[in-house]
């Protein structure tokens, strides 16, 4: 049995303001094995990005309350002090974002930014860091890499900027890469290039990746395993093939059916009725019950416990359990 790289148990995140408190992430559990790619799939506000940020302790400490356990590479992230956190970020775990323009310093050449990260974490000279940056630019297939090291972020195209950010994130060979919608802002022909690049790098370097997306197609391209989030909870997890072929949770099924993909044009699209819930006023039972075609009175009052209807699959739905009994 391989030791898990990351273990998240009963993770909850509350955002606290003077008026109210919102539970953005609610009792999330998962483990990541080395070399595994997991997609967190969900709509806006479902808590997928907040979960990522909690893993790296990037949430504002005064306004957020994190409970539950986060262990990465055997260390308790919750218990880390500032020094340990800084050592972990970038070298054990690193993150790429949707908007590379906001992740880079706009007034420093990209090559120097990567060199700085390498020299801080590895204790090498700036020149050695620049050399490493050049190797990384070649690794992520940036054409004319030597020249591009001296570019400022705004001088790069969207696709190159995203490649440069991947190079920055990989500069210290992290064991776990957190990718928060890294291809969402890219054009279609560039998105597929970046997805294929990430898949290749992941296999070559053997790192684990948690890939946040709202796009089922992206998940199908890159994931080994998918975790579907809704209203702060993981409602279903499973291997990508099983989950896409036979979704068990009604929300996953609805999401698959309503994704526009070569449906007949003279028929209405299948939809999930209603709108995602207001996180400030969540229903007491299953958060999806008000929109669910299969909901009964029990769904409105009871939070469904996780059940395992098939190996490797976990679903939070009362109806799935009823089918098995």
């Amino acid at each position: 049995m391989t030791e898990p790289l990351a273990e998240v148990s009963n993770l909850s995140v509350d955002f606290v303001t003077r008026e109210s408190s919102v539970r953005a992430v609610n009792d999330v559990n998962f483990t990541m094995l080395p070399g595994e790619v997991m997609c967190m799939l969900g709509e806006s506000g479902s808590g997928k990005s907040v979960t990522m940020r909690a893993l790296m302790r990037l949430l504002p400490p005064k306004r957020s309350v994190i409970s539950g356990g986060i262990r990465i590479a055997g260390q308790d992230v919750q218990a880390m002090d500032a020094t340990a956190l800084r050592r972990m970020r970038g070298s054990t775990v690193s993150m790429i974002f949707q908007e590379p323009m906001t992740a880079f310093d706009p007034v420093v050449r990209v090559g120097d930014q990567i060199a700085e990260v390498v020299s801080v974490h590895r204790g090498v000279s700036h020149a050695a860091g620049r050399q490493r940056a050049l190797d990384l630019f070649e690794l992520v297939r940036i054409p004319s890499a030597q020249r591009r090291l001296d570019a400022y972020p705004h001088e790069l195209s969207g696709g190159l900027r995203q490649r440069a950010m991947i190079a920055l994130a990989l500069s210290c060979e992290p064991k776990l890469l957190l990718a928060d919608e890294p291809t969402t802002a890219l054009d279609a022909t560039v998105q597929i290039q970046v997805l294929i690049l990430l898949r290749r790098l992941q296999q070559e370097m053997g790192m684990s990746v948690i890939f946040v997306t709202h796009d089922l197609g992206v998940a199908a391209e890159i994931a080994d395993r998918v975790a579907v989030m809704y209203a702060g909870r993981v409602v279903e997890t499973g291997p990508v093939r099983d989950l896409m072929r036979r979704p068990l949770h009604p929300y996953t099924a609805g999401l698959l059916a309503s994704t526009v993909h070569d449906q007949p044009r003279d028929q209405d699209l299948e939809t999930i009725p209603g709108t995602p819930p207001d996180m400030r006023h969540l229903p007491p039972g299953c958060a999806f019950a008000p929109r669910c075609p299969r909901a009964g009175t029990d769904c409105i009052t009871t939070v469904p416990p996780p059940v395992t209807p098939a190996p490797g699959r976990i679903v939070r739905c009362l109806r799935v359990e009823a089918e098995l009994v």
Partner: protein, 350 residues
Amino acid sequence: MMSATLMELDQRDRGGPQQPLLVVRNLRKHFPIRSGILGRVSAHVRAVDNVSFTVRKGETLGIVGESGCGKSTVARLLMRLINPDAGEQIFDGDAVGEHGGISVADLRRQVQMVFQDSASSLNPRMPVQNSIAFGPIAFGTPRVEAVGQARELLTRVGLNPALFGGRYPHELSGGQKQRINIARALAMQPRMIILDEAVSALDKSVEAQVLNLLQALKRSFNLTYVFISHDLGVVRWISDRVMVMYLGEIVEIGPADTIYTGARHPYTRALLASRPALDPDQRREEAPVSGDPPNPINPPSGCRFHTRCPHAEPVCASRAPSLGAEGEQAHRAACHMQDPASGHSQAIAA
């Protein structure tokens, strides 16, 4: 067809159902780039370059392309939110903004637009029913009547007027706000609606609802749509015809199903092949094209796609391929391989 009967009865229809609702000829917009302390024009962004197309009555024309291809600039030019440098625009037989034609103000009454950002296109300090009634009031409808119509339209877009009419935009979700924007467009009783990435910002589960709504409204209000999106799946579902743009030019235009099953331009084929497969067993092993779209400031010579095209030959860099004239064929592609006389080695036989 019910829509055909409705069309014949439409009082506003001047030229008959055969006359295109919109004809655009050689539309051009180059944005100047100024630099230096004197602000001299140093270059131009060639956002839209000699674009010609027609929109037929009652159809949905989909426009697809990547960022910087000019699709949103086309939308803004059609509404005259920006003025074209050159080109002709004819709305139901009337030249736009010309003597004896239709005025820009009249055009804007008959053509409405829905934008991607549902929040920034609503006044945050105005109850949504007043936002919907604002246009008709400005054009002379009495206030009470206009608000009454606005509440009627709220019902038509699936929102209960008693519950939602008095709300402010911040009290609504993204999908609800976009329904309000659609109702506001409908309030002017337009003949055409330009939807510029109107569903792109919505969650997937809400997007399908709004798409169904758009289709239903099109039938019941006898509308014509220009639907701009980067989402190829959505465009196929909603469009009758599809126009593919690359760096300010049309590269291919034709019936939606023909484009999706038999694309002729290498760029269209690459774009379609770049869609992620929804099946983990059919993952793409290689990207169809490499690199990013070039900068529209100095677009490549000849065929603008030749720098990324797997079939490029010297002729592609030296001479721009022609899309062919409207009316020749329903499905046309601006590629030398489609022209027997181009000299390209893979050109189709005459």
